[in-house]
Symmetry: C2
Subunit: 112 residues, 2 copies
DNA sequence: TCGTAAAATTGCGATATTACGATATTGCGG
DNA sequence: CCGCAATATCGTAATATCGCAATTTTACGA
Protein backbone atom coordinates (compact mmCIF):
# COMPACT_ATOMS: atom_id res chain seq x y z
CA UNK A 1 0.00 0.00 0.00
CA UNK A 2 1.54 3.23 -1.14
CA UNK A 3 0.64 6.60 0.22
CA UNK A 4 0.26 9.01 -2.65
CA UNK A 5 0.71 12.48 -1.25
CA UNK A 6 0.65 14.81 -4.22
CA UNK A 7 -1.29 17.57 -2.49
CA UNK A 8 1.61 18.32 -0.17
CA UNK A 9 3.07 21.68 0.61
CA UNK A 10 5.81 21.47 -2.01
CA UNK A 11 6.25 20.20 -5.52
CA UNK A 12 8.27 17.22 -6.63
CA UNK A 13 11.38 18.07 -8.62
CA UNK A 14 9.73 17.22 -11.94
CA UNK A 15 6.68 19.32 -11.04
CA UNK A 16 8.91 22.23 -10.05
CA UNK A 17 10.75 21.95 -13.35
CA UNK A 18 7.47 21.83 -15.29
CA UNK A 19 6.28 24.99 -13.54
CA UNK A 20 9.56 26.78 -14.23
CA UNK A 21 9.39 25.78 -17.90
CA UNK A 22 5.78 26.91 -18.18
CA UNK A 23 6.74 30.31 -16.77
CA UNK A 24 9.89 30.69 -18.88
CA UNK A 25 7.89 32.30 -21.68
CA UNK A 26 7.05 36.02 -21.51
CA UNK A 27 3.45 35.55 -22.65
CA UNK A 28 2.69 32.74 -20.24
CA UNK A 29 4.33 34.57 -17.35
CA UNK A 30 2.26 37.69 -18.07
CA UNK A 31 -0.96 35.70 -18.43
CA UNK A 32 -0.55 34.19 -14.97
CA UNK A 33 0.17 37.64 -13.56
CA UNK A 34 -2.82 39.21 -15.34
CA UNK A 35 -5.05 36.46 -13.95
CA UNK A 36 -4.45 37.86 -10.47
CA UNK A 37 -6.93 40.57 -11.46
CA UNK A 38 -8.80 39.29 -14.52
CA UNK A 39 -11.45 42.03 -14.41
CA UNK A 40 -8.76 44.68 -14.74
CA UNK A 41 -6.62 42.92 -17.34
CA UNK A 42 -9.13 41.28 -19.66
CA UNK A 43 -12.26 42.40 -21.47
CA UNK A 44 -15.68 41.97 -19.95
CA UNK A 45 -17.33 38.59 -20.38
CA UNK A 46 -20.47 36.69 -19.52
CA UNK A 47 -19.34 34.82 -16.44
CA UNK A 48 -17.67 36.16 -13.32
CA UNK A 49 -13.97 36.30 -14.20
CA UNK A 50 -12.98 36.44 -10.54
CA UNK A 51 -14.71 33.11 -9.99
CA UNK A 52 -14.13 31.20 -13.23
CA UNK A 53 -11.24 33.02 -14.88
CA UNK A 54 -11.15 34.10 -18.50
CA UNK A 55 -11.71 32.35 -21.81
CA UNK A 56 -9.26 31.71 -24.64
CA UNK A 57 -10.66 34.53 -26.76
CA UNK A 58 -9.96 37.08 -24.04
CA UNK A 59 -6.42 35.80 -23.67
CA UNK A 60 -5.95 35.84 -27.44
CA UNK A 61 -6.97 39.50 -27.63
CA UNK A 62 -4.87 40.58 -24.65
CA UNK A 63 -1.75 38.79 -25.92
CA UNK A 64 -2.38 39.60 -29.56
CA UNK A 65 -1.63 36.07 -30.68
CA UNK A 66 -3.64 33.59 -32.70
CA UNK A 67 -6.39 31.43 -31.20
CA UNK A 68 -4.31 28.26 -31.47
CA UNK A 69 -1.34 29.90 -29.79
CA UNK A 70 -3.48 31.21 -26.93
CA UNK A 71 -5.03 27.78 -26.50
CA UNK A 72 -1.59 26.17 -26.45
CA UNK A 73 -0.33 28.66 -23.86
CA UNK A 74 -3.18 27.72 -21.55
CA UNK A 75 -2.66 24.00 -22.14
CA UNK A 76 0.96 24.41 -21.07
CA UNK A 77 0.01 26.33 -17.93
CA UNK A 78 -2.70 23.75 -17.23
CA UNK A 79 -0.32 20.80 -17.70
CA UNK A 80 2.02 22.43 -15.19
CA UNK A 81 -0.95 22.68 -12.82
CA UNK A 82 -0.71 26.46 -12.52
CA UNK A 83 -4.23 27.13 -13.80
CA UNK A 84 -7.50 25.32 -13.42
CA UNK A 85 -10.04 24.86 -16.15
CA UNK A 86 -13.80 25.28 -16.10
CA UNK A 87 -15.77 24.40 -19.19
CA UNK A 88 -19.06 26.27 -19.46
CA UNK A 89 -20.89 25.71 -22.70
CA UNK A 90 -18.57 26.47 -25.60
CA UNK A 91 -16.19 28.40 -23.42
CA UNK A 92 -13.24 27.18 -21.43
CA UNK A 93 -12.37 29.45 -18.55
CA UNK A 94 -8.93 29.51 -17.01
CA UNK A 95 -8.26 30.72 -13.49
CA UNK A 96 -5.17 30.62 -11.32
CA UNK A 97 -4.70 27.49 -9.25
CA UNK A 98 -3.68 29.28 -6.09
CA UNK A 99 -2.91 26.06 -4.22
CA UNK A 100 -0.47 24.95 -6.90
CA UNK A 101 1.05 28.42 -7.10
CA UNK A 102 1.47 28.39 -3.33
CA UNK A 103 3.26 25.03 -3.57
CA UNK A 104 5.44 26.47 -6.32
CA UNK A 105 6.32 29.43 -4.10
CA UNK A 106 7.03 27.07 -1.24
CA UNK A 107 9.33 24.98 -3.43
CA UNK A 108 11.18 28.04 -4.65
CA UNK A 109 11.52 29.18 -1.06
CA UNK A 110 12.85 25.92 0.35
CA UNK A 111 14.13 23.69 -2.48
CA UNK A 112 15.97 26.29 -4.46
CA UNK B 1 23.71 42.52 13.84
CA UNK B 2 23.21 42.86 10.13
CA UNK B 3 20.11 43.81 8.22
CA UNK B 4 19.38 42.06 4.97
CA UNK B 5 18.65 45.03 2.77
CA UNK B 6 17.79 42.83 -0.20
CA UNK B 7 14.92 40.98 1.42
CA UNK B 8 12.33 43.42 0.10
CA UNK B 9 13.86 44.12 -3.28
CA UNK B 10 12.44 42.40 -6.30
CA UNK B 11 13.54 41.71 -9.83
CA UNK B 12 12.36 43.57 -12.89
CA UNK B 13 10.09 41.55 -15.18
CA UNK B 14 12.91 40.86 -17.65
CA UNK B 15 15.21 39.77 -14.82
CA UNK B 16 12.51 37.50 -13.43
CA UNK B 17 12.01 35.97 -16.87
CA UNK B 18 15.76 35.46 -17.29
CA UNK B 19 15.94 33.67 -13.95
CA UNK B 20 12.97 31.45 -14.80
CA UNK B 21 14.54 30.57 -18.16
CA UNK B 22 17.88 29.80 -16.54
CA UNK B 23 16.14 27.43 -14.12
CA UNK B 24 13.93 25.81 -16.74
CA UNK B 25 16.63 23.22 -17.50
CA UNK B 26 17.01 20.13 -15.30
CA UNK B 27 20.81 20.35 -15.16
CA UNK B 28 20.91 24.02 -14.27
CA UNK B 29 18.18 23.64 -11.68
CA UNK B 30 20.04 20.78 -10.02
CA UNK B 31 23.36 22.63 -10.10
CA UNK B 32 21.89 25.57 -8.21
CA UNK B 33 20.39 23.17 -5.68
CA UNK B 34 23.63 21.21 -5.26
CA UNK B 35 25.47 24.47 -4.66
CA UNK B 36 23.54 24.87 -1.41
CA UNK B 37 25.92 22.26 -0.02
CA UNK B 38 28.89 22.08 -2.40
CA UNK B 39 31.01 19.97 -0.04
CA UNK B 40 28.37 17.26 -0.02
CA UNK B 41 27.50 17.35 -3.72
CA UNK B 42 30.84 17.89 -5.43
CA UNK B 43 34.28 16.33 -5.21
CA UNK B 44 36.93 17.75 -2.95
CA UNK B 45 38.95 20.65 -4.31
CA UNK B 46 41.76 23.00 -3.36
CA UNK B 47 39.80 26.02 -2.24
CA UNK B 48 36.97 26.20 0.29
CA UNK B 49 33.85 25.32 -1.69
CA UNK B 50 31.60 26.86 0.95
CA UNK B 51 33.33 30.17 0.40
CA UNK B 52 34.16 30.24 -3.30
CA UNK B 53 31.90 27.60 -4.80
CA UNK B 54 33.00 24.90 -7.21
CA UNK B 55 34.92 24.90 -10.48
CA UNK B 56 33.72 23.88 -13.95
CA UNK B 57 35.51 20.52 -13.78
CA UNK B 58 33.59 19.52 -10.66
CA UNK B 59 30.31 20.50 -12.27
CA UNK B 60 31.27 18.64 -15.45
CA UNK B 61 31.88 15.43 -13.47
CA UNK B 62 28.75 15.74 -11.36
CA UNK B 63 26.50 16.41 -14.37
CA UNK B 64 28.30 14.01 -16.67
CA UNK B 65 28.42 16.49 -19.52
CA UNK B 66 31.28 17.87 -21.57
CA UNK B 67 33.50 20.71 -20.37
CA UNK B 68 32.01 23.16 -22.86
CA UNK B 69 28.47 22.27 -21.84
CA UNK B 70 29.26 22.70 -18.15
CA UNK B 71 30.90 26.04 -18.87
CA UNK B 72 27.84 27.15 -20.84
CA UNK B 73 25.47 26.11 -18.05
CA UNK B 74 27.36 28.29 -15.60
CA UNK B 75 27.46 31.20 -18.04
CA UNK B 76 23.68 31.02 -18.32
CA UNK B 77 23.23 30.94 -14.53
CA UNK B 78 25.75 33.77 -14.24
CA UNK B 79 24.01 35.89 -16.90
CA UNK B 80 20.78 35.47 -14.95
CA UNK B 81 22.66 36.67 -11.86
CA UNK B 82 21.94 33.51 -9.89
CA UNK B 83 25.60 32.64 -9.32
CA UNK B 84 28.70 34.69 -8.69
CA UNK B 85 32.08 33.99 -10.17
CA UNK B 86 35.52 33.99 -8.55
CA UNK B 87 38.56 33.46 -10.71
CA UNK B 88 41.52 31.97 -8.82
CA UNK B 89 44.44 31.08 -10.98
CA UNK B 90 43.27 28.83 -13.79
CA UNK B 91 40.05 27.99 -12.02
CA UNK B 92 36.71 29.73 -12.12
CA UNK B 93 34.62 29.06 -9.04
CA UNK B 94 30.88 29.44 -9.03
CA UNK B 95 28.87 30.02 -5.89
CA UNK B 96 25.23 30.86 -5.32
CA UNK B 97 24.37 34.54 -5.35
CA UNK B 98 22.10 34.42 -2.31
CA UNK B 99 21.06 38.05 -2.65
CA UNK B 100 19.87 37.50 -6.21
CA UNK B 101 18.18 34.24 -5.25
CA UNK B 102 16.43 36.06 -2.40
CA UNK B 103 15.21 38.68 -4.86
CA UNK B 104 14.01 35.91 -7.16
CA UNK B 105 12.11 34.32 -4.26
CA UNK B 106 10.66 37.70 -3.38
CA UNK B 107 9.52 38.23 -6.95
CA UNK B 108 7.93 34.79 -7.11
CA UNK B 109 6.23 35.52 -3.80
CA UNK B 110 4.79 38.91 -4.75
CA UNK B 111 4.82 39.33 -8.54
CA UNK B 112 3.56 35.93 -9.54
C1' DT C 1 -30.07 17.91 -37.94
C1' DC C 2 -28.33 21.89 -39.61
C1' DG C 3 -25.35 26.12 -39.02
C1' DT C 4 -22.46 28.69 -36.06
C1' DA C 5 -19.14 29.66 -32.47
C1' DA C 6 -15.38 28.46 -29.27
C1' DA C 7 -11.67 25.78 -28.34
C1' DA C 8 -8.45 21.86 -29.13
C1' DT C 9 -5.55 19.55 -32.16
C1' DT C 10 -2.54 18.93 -36.10
C1' DG C 11 1.14 20.03 -39.18
C1' DC C 12 4.41 23.27 -40.58
C1' DG C 13 8.36 26.71 -41.14
C1' DA C 14 11.22 29.61 -38.40
C1' DT C 15 13.85 30.12 -34.52
C1' DA C 16 16.05 28.76 -30.11
C1' DT C 17 18.16 25.47 -27.21
C1' DT C 18 21.10 21.66 -26.23
C1' DA C 19 25.36 19.36 -26.17
C1' DC C 20 29.25 18.27 -28.47
C1' DG C 21 34.25 18.56 -30.51
C1' DA C 22 37.60 21.75 -31.91
C1' DT C 23 39.96 25.78 -31.03
C1' DA C 24 41.25 30.02 -28.54
C1' DT C 25 42.28 32.19 -24.30
C1' DT C 26 43.97 32.58 -19.68
C1' DG C 27 47.20 31.65 -16.09
C1' DC C 28 50.65 29.04 -13.83
C1' DG C 29 55.39 26.97 -13.36
C1' DG C 30 59.87 25.78 -15.14
C1' DC D 1 59.37 31.91 -23.61
C1' DC D 2 57.35 27.21 -23.56
C1' DG D 3 54.24 23.56 -22.20
C1' DC D 4 50.41 22.30 -19.58
C1' DA D 5 45.92 22.68 -17.37
C1' DA D 6 41.44 24.98 -16.84
C1' DT D 7 38.12 27.54 -18.91
C1' DA D 8 35.79 30.17 -22.61
C1' DT D 9 34.28 30.55 -27.17
C1' DC D 10 33.16 28.97 -31.81
C1' DG D 11 31.02 26.07 -35.22
C1' DT D 12 27.84 22.19 -35.73
C1' DA D 13 24.09 18.97 -35.79
C1' DA D 14 20.17 17.24 -33.34
C1' DT D 15 16.31 18.41 -30.93
C1' DA D 16 12.80 21.45 -28.89
C1' DT D 17 9.99 25.44 -28.84
C1' DC D 18 7.29 29.17 -30.91
C1' DG D 19 3.51 30.84 -33.31
C1' DC D 20 0.71 30.35 -37.16
C1' DA D 21 -3.07 28.52 -40.51
C1' DA D 22 -5.95 24.80 -41.29
C1' DT D 23 -8.72 21.35 -39.51
C1' DT D 24 -11.32 18.78 -36.05
C1' DT D 25 -13.95 18.48 -31.95
C1' DT D 26 -17.35 20.16 -28.78
C1' DA D 27 -21.44 22.59 -27.66
C1' DC D 28 -25.28 25.47 -28.41
C1' DG D 29 -29.57 27.00 -30.70
C1' DA D 30 -32.81 27.32 -34.58
Amino acid sequence: MTTNEDSGIQLRQDELLAALRALSNPHRLSILQWLRDPVMHFEEQKVDATRYGVCVSSIRKRCEVSQSTASQFMATLSDAGLVQTTRIGQWTYFARNEDAIARFRSSVASDL
